[in-house]
Amino acid sequence: MSSGLTIAVPRGALFDGALDLLDALGVDTAEVRANDRKLLFEEAGIVTMRPSDVPTYVEHGSADIGITGKDVLLEQAHRNVYELLDLGFGRCRMVVAATEGGDPIGSALRRLGRVRIATKYPRIAERHFSETGRQAEIVEVKGSVELAPLTGLVDGIVDLTATGTTLAQNGLREVEEIEVCTARLIANPVAHKLKAEQIDAIVERVRAR
């Protein structure tokens, strides 16, 4: 069964949770589960993509609604989309972390007046340090952020953590929590008006779960 909507579904950490939710809503996801490489499932009304692309497709209207993490929405705060529901799954936290022992961030601020921070989330990091009144030089990296403080590239990192295991294994510890992030249901602003019945049907069923 299709919902009458085009739904953007994130591959990666939120993929299973998103498909389980869609199953519970009566959207047939069997074909999506069976096809690792296929991206567009017209019959089910599903398109799959990386989580950070979901707001792009939904804002443009290529998808009517989508599922993505709050971390993505915070990083892309300029996107013109409705944030409809907190879906509850995919819970993780955006944190500031630094090497264990000592206080590299405090020490950099005290002695150099600014701190260097590596992250894949430059806007979130920038905003967090600016809102807490600290000068930060943000270094954007694409791969494993944990490496950056270990090699002396930066004094600390801003990253997403679920269990803290990766941080601990690399000799890092959390020093501040920025935000708790869960999966969110988002909608295109025009679809939210013109396809109100279909979207409300989904929202009501998620709420009733």
């Binding site: 209207g61 300029h78 013109n80 944030e83 602003p189 025009v190 679809a191 013109l194 109100a196």
Partner: protein, 323 residues
């Protein structure tokens, strides 16, 4: 040789220009037939004068200096310049006054590449009539002008920009919570709104429900029936607009949207947004601004609509592609 132009601006070549002209020509003929005379105002104005109209839009304007050191600004919409024209050139004229325009406006953007900074607006301003007659005339003419521009599926969303503010007052929500809640609404962050409402002290369950559910109410006339409690009174105005549009046979083109807010601060009542199912963005918007003309010294009620002509063009192309 490739010579750059600033991001957010672009060149229009003959094929596109011909289509844009056909669209604006169709809209203009409808506006003129309805008694809306076309006006044009300078692209550059004194910033002090524009600021009278809207303080918040000031940050989005491009500025420069003239030889005397006065700050000049590129207009960021046509509504404020027309308010100035009405106060200056029509100081004694008997309302109603009807004007239309097809003109560029400029806004800075923080979104980087691709977001337009220069855009062509086609719109109308109706000065004099109060609610609901003014709204009905502007909405009906907008729909007819877009018919003339070749669109077939366009709809108009109508809400009331003061509705949620009034609801907050009626439910005795603490004053310091008003702005954060209105900001959630304006950011379309319904999760944030829900969380803030849940955290409010001294508010009953029914009231909480109303605060969270009101922005979800959108659709046909039935939406206005579903709005009860303190909102019931506030939607009277929307009911009256519905009745007038039904008389014109246009009621089914309208979506009532109790969560609709518009960014500009000068709106005082009804707010509008124009949609087409073929594209994922609004084609334009407008609303009632009963206090703006007073700031220029000629206190008259007014409302208007501005359409982005290039977006209308994109919607037309997308409708054609859908067949």
């Amino acid at each position: 040789m490739i010579h750059p132009i600033p991001p957010g601006t672009r060149d229009v070549l003959p094929d596109e220009m011909r289509e844009l002209r056909a669209i604006s020509g169709g809209m203009r003929s409808r506006f003129e037939q309805a008694g809306y005379g076309e006006v044009h105002t300078p692209a550059l104005e004194y910033e002090d004068v524009l600021r009278r109209g809207e303080e918040r839009a000031a940050g989005a304007r491009y500025r420069t200096f003239d030889g005397q050191g006065d700050v000049l600004a590129l207009r960021s919409d046509m509504t404020i310049p027309i308010a100035r024209v009405v106060a200056t050139r029509y100081a004694e004229a008997e309302p109603p006054l009807r004007f239309c325009y097809f003109a560029h406006a400029w806004r800075t953007t923080d979104r980087g590449v691709g977001e337009p900074r220069e855009f062509l607006q086609g719109g109308l301003e109706l000065i004099g009539p109060s609610a609901p007659e003014g709204e009905a005339e502007v909405l009906a003419l907008t729909i007819a002008a877009l018919d003339e521009a070749g669109l077939r599926r366009h709809r108009v969303g109508v809400g009331d920009g003061s509705l949620y503010r009034r609801l907050l007052g009626a439910l005795d929500v603490p004053a310091e919570e008003h702005l954060p809640l209105l900001e959630c609404l304006s950011r379309r962050d319904l999760v944030g709104l829900d969380m803030r409402v849940s955290a409010l002290d001294g508010i009953g369950e029914r009231e909480r429900e109303l605060l969270v559910r009101l922005p979800e109410l959108r659709g046909g006339r039935e939406v206005l029936e579903r709005a009860d409690g303190p909102v019931a009174e506030a939607v009277q105005g929307l009911r009256a607009i519905h009745e007038l549009l039904a008389e014109r046979g246009m009621a089914e083109r309208v979506i009532f949207d109790l969560g609709l807010v518009r960014e500009l601060g000068y709106y005082t009542g009804a707010v509008f947004e124009v949609y087409d199912p073929a594209v994922g963005f609004a084609l334009g918007g407008g609303g009632r601004y009963d206090e703006l003309l007073g700031r220029f010294g000629r206190a008259l009620p007014a409302c208007g609509m501005a359409l982005d002509v290039q977006r209308v063009h994109m919607a037309r192309a997308a409708e054609e592609a859908l067949g």
